[in-house]
Each structure stands twice: as structure tokens, then as C-alpha cells.
Subunit: 413 residues, 2 copies
């Protein structure tokens, strides 16, 4: 946890409601950090369904392997998360650690190891010493309380400067259901630290395959559309748990992803995912500005997203935003280097509502003054219209500042 | 031109020999810079063959379009290069500028516009006012001198901190032939400025199609294996000119790319290209260290190069090098995110000769002290062995420092 809170931190936090069937506990295990919580247990009542998405890294962490294996059965009773050590690139020792933690957590929660889910975030390559926290699990499981969502968000922080929470309550059928979520960190943005982690829970009675469908589709335009530095963690983990407790109050049990009654829930889940994803971007290391990049008129939506990510990941675009410089030439460059179909002479570029370039040339009405004023905002929108099709995509990033280099270039030891 | 010379600048420069059939002149046209040369003309005797490679950007500059068109005929009589304005993303005006300059240069050199080659580097999106320099071309062409190679390298600089030259003399048949080259800038590394430009000339009598073959193959492991910030310019241009004058002294005329007599020439050209490419990296903005990334044991050479570029372009790897931090966890991350076949549990990583990770775990013999000492060098070698095949590739980059962000985040106006 940094001592300086990001200037883009939320001005206020929502009061997090209780999700029936979820109990939470945190502890100071001293895995790496001192004087702060670094261990989270989230306990779920029997009957809880689970779905997840993970890093696409070819070098995933041991907990990612562990979760992927357990996900097939779609049942969860306990989630254990530690910060300070990622248990990534730890070979056989890493697998032993997850096996030991899985057994200890299963014993504590009275379930099978197949109903345990694990996540770790922190240093890569250091073996994770489970004896530092496995003895704490029984106490955490028995002491869990339903109203500790913000505490949960704090326990999983690494170099985050603020805890990230979001909540939505909507109708499923005629019954109110709630979705709570927490997240931490923006990919591989931190010195030695890794990972975006996010955990969502709902009391809606939704079967695991439906949850998986909702989550996979929901991440495409949220968590998979944000980038801080283009560096993909070994440990990215996003899990959603559905306790089904709202069924008692009349919520319909959903077993078909095409069920029309899912509309509100799907949109609400999308809002939670987007809120958490943007909070991650806004806490990107050294970030001073949020940048939204929209590409329109591309050959396809897929092509639009690739071009948008080329712009959002360009160090030159990101440093220009940091310097409050409306340097649209760098956007041209980033469109050109994306390798996607584009026609220079049909390209138009906007910063906010100001069109800077049109049909392959500087806009005749370009005003340096108006643009410079716009660039002083802390929320910058860049749009590029490729002019050759109907493909559209939006992604989010932050600026690249000297602080990013300072934080990541500091000596590790 | 920066006032502070890169600490990685060459300790000494070679004396550049004359290439028979090439005359050089430079001028202060005042296109953007004051009190320095910003215009270069290189004049070639009749019979000079030409080949070239260009940016893969989908938004190429007007001069790139112009050169591509003229390259088909394979003949060159004059090259005109300006710095200060890239004539990129200038639409119809850009095409008019290149047409006007082409005509003026052709008139001055007594050739056709199809034998003129152009390159521009500098601001993107500003129309290039050819009246600032077209009247100077006749004088430049008539006043050209053979021994101004270093002056030529200076005239094309933008934010480069030193001129970049290289030379080799080798046997073609039994006759000495010489290869001279100059280059500037590392891709899109500069505020508003763009472009890597490089121009090579030789007196060897080599036909244009053979030159093209030599150049295309030669760039794969040199200019196409260096990266400063992953940002591809709209204007990258590399041209090679062969005057053929060495034929008078007995050098054989080469018309077949498989001609066995090309061996020495091919290697010498490779050395010139590599020297110029590394000089570009070592002058990357804010660079304090050169980084060589070698990937071995990948599924194929192509896969190895992609993984190597994933490592070399990772902001986290580059900031770690800047901070003299042997953070091999970030190399694991970069291997994992490359999307290429990899097996975490077979991966090994070296910094210099020190093995830090082996078969998916931290090396048991890892010494923090030895590694920290190594990281203080200004020439860092990173190697990753993927352990699944025989594919191999090496790429070069520089570290990512606060100075890079400062230079690129400064206000444009």
C-alpha cells in the first residue's frame, strides 16, 4: 500500500451491502508486509456456484493452475487470497504450496479441496511459505462476518493506493439480487508485484455454466479492455461466486444463459466489472490521467480493439498525455503500426470533441489553444475513425509518467 | 540535436573513406532548426543501382510513397533528405511537396524524377514548405564533394545526440570495394519527431535486384531486431545505392543473389547495418544502458524473435534494467505474455553468464550480490531458454528511464 493516494481515487466509496451466504475474514499473516492485513478468506454456504477467467500467460502461477482445475466442477465453499507473494514461477514447490493450502482450507471449511479457490499476488519466484498462514485458516473460516467487503479489498492490495469495491442491486424476476465485487492492482504494474485480482459474489441463483457465460462476455469490454503498461501478469484471476440465497426470497433459478430474465443482471454485472476495471486503471502506477481510447470505422470490432490497444499501449501517446500535449501525430503513428487495415487518407482523430485531423490531414479548423485547454483535464478521450468500416471498440488506460519509471525502476532489494 | 551526448555514444568515430561515384552536400535551409544543417543531397553518377526497405506502417509518409514508386525501376541519381518536418499525414499537400521536390531535384541533377529519392524526418502533420529549400538544390548538386559523410550524418539528425556512421572495405572478387552508411534516430522516439533513416552507398557493381535481396535479408537481424519503445514511425526508410565504380578496377558485376563471390560483401554489409542499428539503440532517448535479449530453445526462429521482442518492449523489464534490478520475474512475465509456445517448467533465464532461473524455478545457486554487480554494467545481456525447440533470435533495446518520459512528455509548443 502506497502512502500517497492516487489523484484519480474515487471521491467516495459505496456502502457495501451484505451478500447472503458469504462470510469474510482477514488477518495479518506477515507474509511480506508488516502492520497490515495480507490474508483473506471468503467462505460460501453450500450450493455456491463459481465461474472464472484467468491470465492468458503461458507461464501462469501455481494458484491459477489450481483454480483452473477446480473450476470444472463449478462448486465453491472457500476462497483464500494472500498478498505479498505470488507463488508464481515456483515450480514443484509452488504446486506443493497450493496443495497444502487447499487441504488446510478444505479442512477448515468442512469441504473438499476441489471446492477451494486460491489466489496469490506479490513477488514472483520466491517460494510461498504456507506455514506462515495455514494455521490461521480455521480461525478465519469460523470468524467470518458478512459485512467486511472493504476490509477484504484492503487485504489483497499490493501497490494499490486505494481499495477497489463496487456494488449493484437489481431485479432477477421480481426479486432484488445483489452483486458485490472487489479488485486490486493493474496487471504487472508494480515492482516485483504482479497481478490483477478480482472477486465478485452474488446471492442470485445462477448455475455455474451460466455464470461462466456471463463472466466471459462481461470481461471482453471491461477487464480485457483496460491496460496500464501492456504487461500481462502471470496471475490475473477473476472469479464470480453465486450463493443462490435469493431463491428463498423468490428469485428464479437460472440455468440457461439465454434466459430473458437475465437482462438486468447482465447489465448490472457489466457495471460492476467496468467500475472495478476502471478503478484499476485509475490506480495505475504513477497515473495522473485516465485515457479512454475509442476506435470507430475499423474493418471489424476485433480490428478496432487491436488498433485501440495499439494507441493505448503506445509509450509515446501515453507520455504525450502525461505532458498535456495534444500530439495527434503519435495517434497516427499508433494506428499505422497496429498492422490492421487502415487508410491514411480517410483517418480522422479527435481529442474530446475537438477534431484535430480529418481525412489524412490536420483539420483546417484546428485550434492549438482549445486543444491545450482540453488536455489539462484528468479524464482524456481520444477517438480515431479509420473510415473504412463499421468496427468499433473502446479501451481504457492511464498516462505514462516519471513516477511510473521511478516506482518500477527502484532497486528491488 | 541535443546538447547532452548519450553516455553510450561511440568513443571514437571511423574515418569515412570516399565512395567513387557519390558526391555529398549539406545546407542550412531553416526548415525548423536554426544554426545547423537540415538538408542533405547525395548525388550519384549515372548507372547507380538502388534498393530499399521501408516502414510497415499503414500510414506511411509522402516521401515513403514516393520512394516505393521509384524503387521499381532500380535506378538512382540523387537523394534529398530534410530534417525538421516529416511530411507525414499531410494528405494531398504532402504528395504535391514530394512531386515538386522530385522535379526540382531531377532538374538540378539532370535526370528524371523517377531517379530521385526523398526522405523527411521531423514533425508529423505540418505541411512541408518546399520553397524553403527547393531553390537550394541546384547549388547542392553542383557543389557536392565525396568526403562529407559525417556532415551528411549530422544534417539528418533530429533529437539524436551524435551522428551515426559506419564503414567496411572488403574484397569483391580480387578487388577492394567499400560500403559506407549513415543513420539517424530510433523510430518514433522523439517529441513530434519521427523516424529511423539510414542511407548506405557502395562502389561495388551489384545489380538492383541483388541489392534488394541483400538488404532485405540483412535488415532482419539488424534494423528489424532493434526497438527503443515499440513505436513504429510513419517514415522509416533504409536505402542502399551501388555506383558500380569498382568495376573499372576489376570488381566482378554481380547479377545473381546466389553468386558465391558475394560472401564477404554480404558479411560486411551486415556489419555496417548492425553497427548503425546499434548506434540508433544506444542513442535511444534517455538511454543509459544497451540491452541485448537472446531467446533460445523456442519452437522456431520466428517464435524466438516474438518472445525476444516481448521482453525487449516490456516497460517493466526496461525500467528494471534502468534501476539496475535483476528482476527476472519480469522476464518470466514477458515470456508468458508473448503468446508463443512456452513451457513454464522448462524455462531458464540468464543475466550475463549468471543463471537466475532454471526449469521453472529460481536457480538454487542464485546470488543476489553477483547479479547486482552485473546490473551496474552499461551493456546488459538477457537470455531466456524456452526449452522446447531450437528456435533462436537476438534483439537489442535500451533501458526506459525518467529522461525518456521527460523528453517525450514535454509540451509540444
Amino acid at each position: 500500500m502506497s502512502t500517497t493516494i492516487s489523484p484519480l481515487a474515487p471521491k467516495k466509496y459505496p456502502k457495501m451491502p451484505v451478500i447472503e451466504g458469504v462470510r469474510i475474514a482477514t488477518a495479518e499473516a506477515g507474509i511480506k508486509y508488516k502492520n497490515r492485513t495480507d490474508l483473506l478468506a471468503m467462505v460460501f454456504d453450500a450450493g455456491t456456484a463459481v465461474a472464472g477467467v484467468f491470465t492468458k500467460s503461458k507461464c501462469p502461477s501455481a494458484p491459477v493452475d489450481f483454480c483452473r482445475q477446480n473450476l470444472a466442477a463449478g462448486k465453491a465453499r472457500v476462497l483464500v487470497v494472500n498478498s505479498g507473494n505470488a507463488n508464481a514461477f515456483t515450480g514443484k514447490k509452488g504446486r506443493e504450496s497450493t496443495a497444502l493450502t487447499g487441504e488446510a482450507a478444505a479442512k477448515a471449511a468442512g469441504c473438499t479441496a476441489g471446492e477451494v479457490f486460491l489466489a496469490s499476488t506479490g513477488v514472483i519466484g520466491e517460494p510461498l511459505d504456507t506455514t506462515k498462514f495455514s494455521h490461521l485458516l480455521a480461525g478465519l473460516v469460523s470468524d467470518g462476518k458478512p459485512d467486511l467487503w472493504t476490509e477484504a479489498a484492503k487485504a489483497i492490495m499490493t501497490t494499490d493506493t486505494y481499495p477497489k469495491v463496487a456494488t449493484q442491486t437489481v431485479k432477477l424476476g421480481d426479486t432484488d439480487v445483489t452483486i458485490n465485487g472487489i479488485s486490486k492492482g493493474a496487471g504487472m504494474i508494480a515492482p516485483d508485484m504482479a497481478t490483477m485480482l478480482s472477486f465478485i459474489a452474488t446471492d442470485a441463483p445462477i448455475a455455474a455454466p451460466v455464470l461462466q457465460d456471463l463472466l466471459s462476455r462481461g470481461t471482453a469490454k471491461t477487464f480485457n479492455a483496460v491496460t496500464v503498461d501492456s504487461d500481462t501478469s502471470t496471475s490475473d484471476t477473476l472469479l464470480i461466486f453465486a450463493t443462490g440465497k435469493a431463491a428463498k426470497r423468490g428469485a428464479p433459478e437460472i440455468t440457461d444463459p439465454k434466459d430473458a430474465r437475465l437482462g438486468q443482471f447482465r447489465r448490472a454485472l457489466g457495471k460492476v466489472l467496468k467500475s472495478l476495471a476502471l478503478q484499476v486503471v485509475r490506480d495505475g502506477e504513477g497515473a495522473r490521467k485516465q485515457v479512454e481510447v475509442t476506435v470507430t470505422g475499423a474493418k471489424s470490432a476485433r480490428s478496432a480493439k487491436r488498433i485501440a490497444l495499439s494507441i493505448a499501449n503506445s509509450p509515446l501517446v501515453k507520455t504525450a498525455v502525461a505532458g498535456e500535449d495534444a500530439n495527434w501525430g503519435r495517434v497516427v503513428m499508433a494506428v499505422g503500426k497496429a498492422g490492421e487495415p487502415a487508410d491514411r487518407d480517410r483517418l480522422s482523430i479527435w481529442f474530446g470533441d475537438i477534431r484535430l485531423a480529418h481525412e489524412g490531414e490536420r483539420d483546417p479548423g484546428y485550434s492549438e489553444e482549445a486543444t491545450s485547454t482540453y488536455m489539462k483535464r484528468d479524464d482524456i478521450r481520444i477517438r480515431a475513425d479509420i473510415g473504412i468500416g463499421r468496427g468499433k471498440a473502446t479501451v481504457w488506460t492511464c498516462d505514462l509518467t516519471k513516477e511510473y519509471v521511478a516506482i518500477n525502476g527502484d532497486y528491488r532489494s
